[in-house]
Amino acid sequence: MIHLRRQLVAIGRLLWRNFTRSAIGGRGEARVGSVLSARLLLRLLFLALIARNGLDLARPIRAIADDAERSAALGWALLGAIAVTASLTVGFQQPIGAAAARRLRPLQHPLLAILPVLASTRAVLALLSSGWAPFLFGPFFLGAVGIRAAASVAELWLLGAGLGAAAVAVMRRFLAAHRLAPIAAATGVVVLSGVLVLTQAAWLGRRLGAAPALSSWARALAEGRAPPALAQLAALALAALGFAAFGAVERHGYDRLDVQPTRSVRTRGTRPLDLRRLERRLLVRERSALVLSAVALLIPVVLTAVLVWGVAYGSGAPERVVVEALAVTLLTSFASFAVWICFGQASIAVARDVVARPLLSSLPIPPSATLAGKGALLSWMMLPLVVCAGVMFLFLRVDAPELWARWLLFAGALWLLARGTAAIAFLSQGLGSATPGAGTPIGSLDNLIIVVPVMGVVLAPHPLLALPSFGALALVSWEARRAALRCVRWLDDASLLLERSTPLWRALLGFAMFLSAQSLIALLLGAAGRPSEPDAPAASLMGGAYLVSALALAAYTIGRRGELGRLRWRPARRWTLALGAACGLATGALGVVLQPAIARLLERLGVEGAQVAMGGTLGALLLGLAVLVAAPLAEELYFRGWLQEALALQLGRRRVWAPVLAAFAFAAVHPGPAFPVVWLLGLAAGALYARTGALGPGIAAHAAHNALVWWASR
């Protein structure tokens, strides 16, 4: 006899195992029992970021003084939240991409089709398919109307997911599988519009008044009453109907999914079908992939058109300050679109290769050609974004050369992103790697390595300050390609022990883990206590987050360096410690001397220095500990003990360049203005490490440098 409760518990455990274990890296590392991993950390960070965004979005609504306007704004927020939940429920149910992708999604896995899953269990699965929606609008409503909204939020979540489930049921019943794919891709538009409505709810409420539906519900929430019983009952009944329909249809849900229509296609042209054209043709034939990219590219085009129209027919050209802010915002949002398109398309393309492996492995295709075909396709897809941004700049009458320099950097960064992502997809989603599924393709540690420098380029306060990030991006893209060229061999050789990445790539993964740990902890600390000054990050927050993540970086480095030999702390010749300290003092002094000059230069470039609110003794203590103890230890351990070693191993006879590159990476992650001095410090520490083979002198240099700069700044 089958019990609903047992099935649900089993599925819950399955989801938890998926969440933790599918975060384990390549095949060789896969072990039962390893729960805590860097990738898991990243997933938690993703959810925490969404929750934090929800809280942030609530602020403008709470700030509305007028009761009528506030309830109107809440009404729009409700509408947005329900649209997001319903469309996510539909989106996660649909066969996007290759059939192989379905195996990566625990709730749509083919194994569930042949087990006796109860209709009620299936209904719960539909509810769980709304993905990250509750993490966004739960905190949003809690922030906007407080804890009394909790029951209402749950009801609305049920309603949204129920509507989505009903939509899936209707589509499965009446549409053939090949018509579902475009609809699934189109749900992306609804998700984005829902998020847009949710984020702009305050503005919508003020401008347009109450949302057509749900206004009585919103009014009750705004006034602190329970929503009308009749409306609650209706919402729950609708949800129940939706889930029931889903459960009933889903029993035979795979009826239509497995059937693809046999289309006959006419081959046009006589040009040979090389790998580049093959990628393009497959993209066009696979409708869901095509619609996905079309939608993603259409949004920037529409945005451009709206903006151009607004400028042409609005109140003349906007002010210069507005133009600059607008230009940077545009580039940032376009870069986010680029990241979304690249990761989505690259993972679909690699999934395709996994399926076609028997064919590919029998053909004499060099790995570089396999990569080049995908890289070229992605680069082509970046072109509309670059052109759109250029058109916008023209219409905004951008005349500042630094904005055009930004545009050039943006174009270059997108090109590097396209090339790098194709390689990363092979590294993280190739054969046998049980990577994501339980979230977004962006939520992978490998992807984070390349997203950070891309965002560094577009968000830099000045194009000159974007150069270090650009350099880091080029290095990451180059190394991703190198590592992937080794790894693409799985197309020929599926053996278990195939080394999937280079030591250098693993070192870079370690750093991505450090970054995600730092942001996650800052988010958690930020949610626990409120910074005293809203504009400046509190010292205690920064110090605490840094201390914990530095500990994690040190532990990770010691645990994962693996094949790079033993770490030595103390140098054979003790006087090198003193030499290190002297080097550190020298670079520190240089930094202190150059500080006013750098500040002046930045002022001339129009960049404001970042301020940190010290906030009492605890903050000073924590920040001091972080700067004087944790940073020298953890960063030297990582940048010299791991990254430089991995670089040296890889460069072979040209290993003399290893300290230079490691120092560049070290400087690139430090705030822009300090870049040249920190590079010098890195060079000194790197050279000392290369000569002595011990970390001590580098740590001494780093600590001395930090101490001097810290003392001068107080």
Partner: protein
């Protein structure tokens, strides 16, 4: 006399109750007719082979039996349960080995079996006790605690068979059960199937290995483009094709499923 032959003659003497029964079963995918008015049955203790060229409708028939597909016409039932209307109940009665088995890559083999036990509402302890002899026979013990993502194709196939036996089902549906297995493993599986049939299970298997079908199937169903071309014991089919008792089943198949060139 080998056990397989013993049970074969037994099955011929007293017709056992039918476990699976299809009547006028049809399935249409758009304009394509995948299964056309198929009528057949599988009785207890009997191994029935679905034989046919690629695209003959073998897998579709099995998916109809599981309730994964809805028939366009006709009816298919397992022990009186209509497969189309109660797919949950039907899946409790069937152990299914798909042609390309799929598992959660991040579960170990043991955890996968545990998961199936929970989903089927079985006592885990008792299920493992029942599975123990099969684990030994399939030589799966050293593999069970590794993640499925590292399994070879053959090991995945064996795990799928183990998973199909978790609940001791009266009917086994096996899609190309020896596909991807090395000869010794294929031999193991063949022996296992004969033993299961002797113990009273009904087995419907699809294959294109006519030699294997000849050795373990009591009855064969020849399919072509969804239609039943011929059915009966291997001897009857040889006679139907006008061949002698020592002719190969392949010749009989080629004669009966003759396609215009």
């Amino acid at each position: 006399m080998s056990p397989a032959i013993a049970s074969r003659s037994q099955a011929e003497r007293t017709p056992a109750p039918a476990i699976l029964r299809a009547e006028g079963l049809s399935k249409r995918f758009g304009a394509k007719l995948a299964v056309a008015a198929l009528t057949c049955e599988v009785r207890s203790g009997e191994v029935v082979g679905l034989i046919g060229p690629n695209g003959a409708g073998k897998t579709t028939t099995m998916r109809l039996a599981l309730g994964l597909l809805l028939p366009s016409e006709g009816r298919i039932e397992v022990l009186g349960v209509d497969c189309a209307s109660d797919s949950v109940r039907v899946k409790e009665l069937i152990g299914y080995v798909p042609d390309e088995p799929a598992f959660y890559e991040f579960l170990s083999g043991r955890e996968t079996v545990d998961f199936a036990c929970e989903m089927r509402g079985l006592e885990r302890q008792a299920a493992w006790e029942r599975l123990e002899p099969f684990v030994a026979k399939l030589e799966l013990a050293p593999e069970l605690d590794r993640l499925v993502s590292g399994y070879s194709h053959g090991t995945k196939k064996k795990l799928a068979l183990l998973l199909a036996l978790v609940h001791g089902p009266p009917l086994l549906l096996l899609d190309e059960p020896t596909n991807g297995l090395d000869p010794p493993s294929a031999n193991l599986v063949r022996r296992l199937l004969s033993e299961l049939a002797a113990a009273g299970a009904g087995i419907l298997l699809s294959t294109h290995l006519l030699d294997m079908a000849d050795r373990i199937c009591h009855r064969l169903v020849f399919l072509d483009r969804g239609r039943l071309v011929a059915g009966g014991t291997p001897a009857e089919l040889r006679a139907l094709a006008g061949l002698g008792g020592d002719a190969s089943l392949e010749d009989a198949f080629l004669r009966l499923v003759a396609r215009p060139a």
